[in-house]
Symmetry: C2
Subunit: 421 residues, 2 copies
């Protein structure tokens, strides 16, 4: 193992904004990104001149397949007045946003830029769901996985099954992840499904009442999640509420060289750790209960930052499916192998726990517009570390946060560590 290398120059985050995540039939990625950019602009405490942005890095999974528009970078740059600045699209499936952030950091560290715009965007809901599933499946291994009939719910179901088999977690573990994330997302106005499970129950009941049907009753939220009509199986053992949704959305960040940060805000976030790792597709792994790229990207980020997993106070992980969140909390060293599901069930990852996870609601509740997701995670850390997370604000003024952004079935993972000094 080689020594962890470092960037030549520190980088700070001084602005962050996002569109709402959801289904927006009348909007394109350009529209959504303009919304995110404007919110980012407004978030820069002391203001800035967009003309001073030197370069743009954008994460996008596959607008070519979703919207018939490949080559999005110059179009998005144009939409926010950035031409002729360099504009580059990074693609690493669901880790495209995290990858774009990595490139933005690199650009400033290289000396070629002092101020960088990082963005992410995806517009998925114009396609029918079965087409979305097919498009997303192009991020699995097309020579071995999707040709064998696998789509992503199937791949992650295999991972969930392996974990349950080895460590004794159950379907209830996954349901509790959904419960927790929707509890958080209900406090996030930008979330696509910003509702508690109890809210879904009320919706079902109201809908039945309206249609003059018998009003369904459930003893509690878990009973609702156990009911195969309310929460149908998608790919056993995963049900509907174990899957993140199909979403539209965009997010934008403003990075500057660390020594310039005070010109823009007194509350900058310093990017003190950044790790990225690549690995093999799921069919080629010997152990489905770990995602090695997460561990490797985490190791690099922790080493670079000089912090330990236990130091992290705010954390957004890539919960594309509920069990992924559990496994990730082990991959990142928050809990021992096989202990993540117990920690979850004990409430340790809730907002008032000792390792709060996905206070934004996570991809599960906030939404998962693929290319935007990794950038959107950063926005939650931005809010939590600046004390701006409103009702979902973590107690104790957290100063150290982490984002974990996964691609495909984990062939790429990006981990960032942020410090508010």
């Amino acid at each position: 193992m080689m020594a962890t290398k470092r960037f030549n120059r520190g980088v700070a985050l001084v602005g962050a904004g996002m569109s709402s995540f959801g289904a927006f039939p009348g909007k394109t990625t350009r529209d959504l990104f303009v919304e995110a950019f404007k919110e980012m602009e407004a978030s820069v405490d002391k203001g800035f001149d967009p003309k001073d942005i030197n370069e743009c890095y954008f994460g996008n999974f596959s607008s070519s397949q979703f919207e018939g528009q490949c080559f999005t970078a110059p179009f998005i740059a144009n939409a926010v007045g950035m031409n002729p600045k360099p504009a580059i699209r990074a693609e690493n499936a669901c880790a495209s946003g995290g990858t774009a952030l990595r490139l933005g950091v690199m650009a400033i560290a290289s000396g070629i830029a002092d101020m960088v715009l990082v963005g992410g965007y995806e517009k998925e809901t114009d396609q029918p769901t079965e087409k979305v599933t097919e498009i997303l499946a192009t991020a699995s291994d097309n020579l071995y996985e999707n040709v064998a009939g696998f789509t992503f719910p199937g791949l992650y179901a295999a991972l969930a099954t392996a974990y349950m088999h080895r460590y004794g977690a159950t379907s209830e573990t996954m349901m509790k992840v959904a419960l927790q994330n929707h509890e958080n997302g209900a406090l996030n106005a930008k979330a696509q499904f910003g509702k508690r499970i109890g809210d879904f129950i009320m919706m079902k009941q109201k809908s039945a009442e309206k249609r003059g049907k018998p009003i369904p009753q459930w003893d509690d939220e878990m009973a609702f999640l156990h009911d195969p009509r309310a929460n149908p199986v998608i790919s056993w053992p995963m049900r509907l509420f174990d899957c993140s949704p199909v979403s539209d959305g965009a997010a934008a960040l403003l990075l500057v060289a660390e020594d310039m940060a005070h010109n823009f805000t007194d509350k900058a976030l310093h990017i003190i750790g950044n790790g990225i790792a690549s690995g093999v597709p799921m069919h080629d792994r010997t152990d489905l209960t770990v995602i090695e790229t997460a561990t490797e990207a985490g190791r690099v980020a922790y080493e670079m930052a000089g912090v330990l997993p236990k130091d992290i106070q705010a954390c957004e992980v890539h919960d594309c499916f509920t069990m992924t969140q559990v496994i990730t909390t082990e991959d990142l060293g928050f809990f021992e192998r096989g202990q993540g599901w117990k920690a979850l069930e004990e409430g340790r990852t809730a907002r008032d726990g000792d390792h709060p996870i996905n206070t934004s609601g996570g991809l599960k509740s906030k939404g998962h517009p693929v290319g935007a997701s990794g950038v959107g995670q950063v926005i939650e850390i931005w809010k939590q570390l600046r004390g701006e997370a409103e009702e979902r604000q973590l107690p104790g003024e957290p100063t150290l946060g982490l984002t974990h952004n996964l691609g495909g079935s984990g062939q790429v993972c990006v981990v960032n560590i942020f410090e508010r000094r």
Copy 2:
């Protein structure tokens, strides 16, 4: 206009290799990239250990649409044993390869890497030609251009028409570009259509003879190119031989920090200039006879390198269509506006001219596997500046070379300047 910024650390090219460009029905991009990687490995004069590669940057336009495989970076990295190293795909349409090179330079300059693998790949020929045209059209503006019926031959035909109208160039100018590039490509064993126009005439004649048909005769090569049966109109005024082909191929480069270059070769190429610019799509321009991103990227690259257009001795430009080559020689400052076509017709851009262009055969003859093209251009400069270009070697031991890689209808352009010290 802001002052040109610089990279914190010099970067050198110490290895370069490519697959043949062509149509390879039995191969995937992974196979093609392995071929390129192996040739790159063999090209490093003093050898190197692939384990020392820190990061990988790959250019790819749209394997998702061509092969059903998005998220190619980790798969390609895996194919050449690079996991768990960071692997990132850059996409900027036909400028994806040049963009990947830009990121590789940035990675080393940032301090996060000392040795970087840069690659490019595309596998287009598994799709029928009309589908390829449709896929490529996703690089135009999907809100304004392809919905209006434009595909790339149509867009570039508009550019050719505008140039002819303003400056007096003719269809013959374009034919002479094809003649010259095929003349060069005939000396390149890796070229997809490595044949002189005279060779195509002989092929047509042999084919007729074989089928017992009357043997067609043409007075000379220009007569052949004027014959609408031999060289049919694709999108007026452009004919078949004005268009680069649909291709498969891959290319690989090895970059290291400048101060380490002597460990790998005594004949490194130093990347002394690197410019990239973004711009508006064609429907939004006021002048179709220039491509402003090329001029802007060139300006940045020249300033960074401290050289002038007249200093460039070897040059590969993005001749996706013949007239693009002519316009590019003006965009890059080799000739005054409106003079490029005369320079071409006077033979000044031929191998024995004062501004040799596309000695490899260019995209026109060598082939245009989109994501690989920008990387493949560098391989020609590598060979020319090291005196390894065999029969097409430029005289006088050139030490300064340039590559120009264009995306879409020019919404992105990347210009690199290389020096052999």
